[in-house]
Amino acid sequence: MAEERKVSRKTFVNWLLGTSLGATVAAALYPVFRYVLPPEVAEAPTNRVLAGKLSELPPNSGKIFRFGAKPGILVRTPAGEVRAFSGICTHLNCTVQYRSDFQHIWCACHNGHYDLQGKNIQGPPPRPLEAFKVDIVGDDIYVTRGA
């Protein structure tokens, strides 16, 4: 005859109290955990913005524009061509700028350099800047994502 395995009363009470305590702690911590994480804010995706005026952007200059909640950078090359990229450095999230003395894009935070195609050419940035599509309608410069 197989030996009967009995759960002693003490073991049972310990198990009951232990799991109830665990469940109480979990029930208190879960809402805190969820509360700390901010909710997703539904944002209309921005795909096309009016980034600036051609007349305000002379050759060999650049400006930061708003692309939804993120900065973008508009660059007019010394040859007069207009290009647009994400303004966020791929290294550690700073906002880049156009340096007319270097004639290319530069990030002040950790001395990262990008060429006029947005390619990382010097310093710590690991990837190129995301490029946007540029349309010029009259004097208006429109920038579209997904070029």
Binding site: V36, L37, P38, V41, I64, F65, R66, A69, K70, P71, I73, G87, H91, L92, N93, C94, T95, V96, Q97, C107, A108, C109, H110, N111, N120, G123, P124, P125, P126
Partner: protein, 356 residues
């Protein structure tokens, strides 16, 4: 005097205070060639007390929103009597506290005070240093100026490189995907409630450990004479605090802390941007690392190296068994010197403008 005596007797009758008095009379501190190092923990505590006092005063005028933070600090500095001084003292004292904590940590390391049985004192101390850096990082954002904004963008972006939970941590810290007013409000809560609570608890624990075990005496200095804790050591410590206060007052008055320009999330990072001096060695290292090292992104490699290095330093009581036995450990000393020289040289060279 009679009144005080009466009060003491009344309290003693109710709470039996004689043993406490006897304890204070008996407590003593060793004296030897290197006993100057015993004052730096206390000096750090002094600057922390200054931080608490001036921090509470700043709370009277500060408003933690993206719209009002910069203006409220500006108002405090230009219109409120002595507002500039209170803020300047808070900023300078923060820096002196971290400097004093670094001196304290290195004296403890070089004297070998961290080995068994004082592992937990070392670990609570290391946690307190991290908390101090957390105070510095979170407090830096609060005036909502240009430098602070980008320092926070960079610092929180580093957190996102943590494997698996990085992006989650980033969102928790920033209160969203980007550094916004939500980040400011969170940092404010962390700076004035969460960190002070944990820090106070750990300071009590850190001091309780020292009280229970007695202060460490370096190997070569035993046996030692002692001096009474009260009043001899307390008066000496008070002198050190006075020097600290004089230095703090001079710095705060002659080099008032600047406010800078209000943060604009749609402006490029300003040229010449750099973090506080105690983060400079990491900052310059990250600048020097190339985009890719053996196929791995440079900054990830750098951050991983800092984490591993920090952990190695933290775990010193576990790998340094020789000093626990009372023997010399030249390897531990070498580690200490390498770390000290690396941090000191990168910080000084950064100020000299050697790194472009």
């Amino acid at each position: 005097m009679k009144l005080l005596e009466k009060l003491w007797r009344a309290l003693d009758e109710r709470y039996d205070l004689q043993p406490l008095l006897a304890f204070a009379k008996e407590k003593s501190v060793p004296c030897h060639r290197h006993d100057w190092m015993y004052y730096f923990g206390g000096l750090t505590l002094f600057f922390f007390a200054v931080q608490v006092a001036t921090g509470i005063l700043l709370l009277l005028y500060y408003r933690p929103t993206a719209e009002a933070a910069f203006e409220s600090v500006q108002f405090m500095m230009t219109r409120v009597p002595f507002g500039w001084l209170i803020r300047s003292i808070h900023s300078w004292s923060a820096n002196l506290m971290i400097a004093s904590a670094f001196v304290h940590m290195f004296t403890v390391f070089f004297s070998g005070a961290y080995v068994k049985p004082r592992e937990l004192t070392w670990w609570t101390g290391a946690a307190l240093l991290l908390l101090a850096l957390g105070f510095g990082f979170s407090g830096y954002l609060l005036p909502w100026n240009e430098l602070a904004f980008f320092a926070t963008r960079v610092g929180t972006d580093m957190v996102s490189k943590v494997p698996f939970v990085g992006h989650w941590l980033l969102k928790v810290l920033r209160g969203g995907e980007d550094v916004t007013g939500a980040t400011l409000t969170r940092f404010f809560g962390i700076h004035v409630a969460v960190l002070p609570m944990i820090t106070t608890f750990l300071i009590v624990l850190h001091l309780a450990f020292i009280q229970r075990q007695g202060i460490h005496v370096p190997e070569g200095e035993k046996p030692v004479r002692t001096r009474p804790f009260f009043p001899n050591f307390v008066l000496r410590e008070a002198m050190v605090w006075l020097v600290g206060l004089a230095l703090l007052a001079a710095l705060a008055a002659f080099f008032p802390w600047e406010l800078g320009k209000k943060a604009d999330p749609f402006a490029p990072a300003p040229a010449g941007i750099k973090p506080e001096w105690y983060f400079l060695f990491m900052f310059e290292t990250l600048k020097l690392l190339p985009a890719k090292v053996a196929g791995i992104e440079g900054e990830i490699l750098g951050l991983a190296a800092f984490t591993v290095g920090g952990l190695f330093w933290f775990l010193a009581p576990l790998w340094d068994k020789r000093r626990a036995r009372g023997a010399r450990n030249p390897w531990a000393l070498a580690v200490g010197w390498v770390v000290l020289l690396y941090i000191a040289s990168f910080t000084v060279l950064s100020y000299l403008g050697v790194f472009k």
